[in-house]
Symmetry: C2
């Protein structure tokens, strides 16, 4: 398809598409003459992902370019390719990270929880993963405020999240190409988060109304 | 206990506690002389909650005061008291809310999903609830970017979130007084969110490593 059709089908303006092309967020089409290039479904998919990264994920252009660089890096295995792409996404708690005794205590608690769950890979990746770090920071915050951390209480939540993760990967695997799999995983990480959060809160309202009335 | 002990046990400075008292975020102690007042465990609990609201939830003082007002309003039933307190918390997607055809379509999809799940109270509260609104906005965003919404795909996630909500309320109910129940629910809504998000992402890494290796 031509640029005009790409714009129409994606709902993204010509000017914006050209900006993405200049910024290297979208691969150039195949030149078919001095003035026209041909685009395909992969460009459409990529445009959707770029918008998800910039508009919903609120990533700076440079960060989005890094994420997409990992998405496109087929020299990596899928776990690392996915990991590298997702690790570039901002992690909520990163800003508050500071090393103190709560952090050290949280580290021990997280390690204990992962052991209990049998999440050996997560434990092994450990310090390498910003996600692991996010969990430590979140637990440290809780402890610093004087709330108790209770591994017995949290383990079943972790199991629920594991069931969600199994569904996530099953869904990713329904996509035919490796590129689409990785793209889908990144888009889902950004777009499903607010959906899941809202479903969780709505489920609390539903359950509360069932137990105590409106 | 005296103010000095309250400060020591909570880890909150005297100046900050006095600021919270002036702002009406913390109830005054019981005067025992012209210059001293006596504080108890409820003050300690409240201090923790105030810090969670301000530091982790990043609420403005005026909003925190509103949340605490609902927490303390024992004229309301528990569902409404909780709801009113939680509804004051910021909802991620609110800023992007705009009424367009995606929003209308998302409304229909959310209603269909809730019907399918049998979440009749959530459906009934519907437009009243900012949480319901958050879900509609999140789904609309997804659709606007050209991603598909698939109720078949999402329903099992909603069921997982319902299981989490059942655990949330069971945990809230382990607290003896009505005040503690509501306080715990509000604190959990703020402090557990980053923990759950991190557990979800970590579960994805674990599952990915199990399926595809590191």
């Amino acid at each position: 398809m031509r640029l005009a059709e790409l714009s129409e089908r994606s709902g993204v303006s010509l000017a914006t598409i050209k900006y993405y092309l200049r910024q290297g967020l979208l691969a150039p089409g195949i030149r078919i003459s001095a003035t026209t290039a041909e685009y395909d479904e992969s460009h459409l998919r990529r445009l959707r992902l770029v918008r998800a990264l910039l508009q919903v994920g609120r990533l700076p252009v440079a960060t989005a370019r890094k994420v997409l660089g990992h998405v496109d890096d087929d020299s990596l295995g899928r776990t690392m390719r996915l990991g590298a792409a997702l690790w570039e996404l901002p992690h909520e708690t990163e800003a508050e990270a500071e090393q103190d005794e709560s952090t050290a205590a949280a580290q021990v608690e997280v390690d204990r929880l992962l052991g209990k769950l049998g999440w050996d890979s997560a434990r092994e990746i450990g310090a390498l993963s910003p996600v692991h770090r996010s969990l430590v920071v979140a637990v440290a915050t809780l402890m610093r405020l004087g709330y108790q951390w209770d591994a017995e209480l949290m383990a079943p939540y972790a199991e629920l999240m594991h069931q969600a993760a199994i569904r996530d990967l099953d869904f990713v695997e329904t996509h035919p190409s490796e590129a689409e799999k990785v793209e889908t995983a990144v888009a889902a990480a950004i777009l499903f988060r607010p959906v899941l959060d809202a479903l969780h809160r709505l489920a609390q309202e539903e359950e509360s109304a069932r137990r105590y009335g409106l």
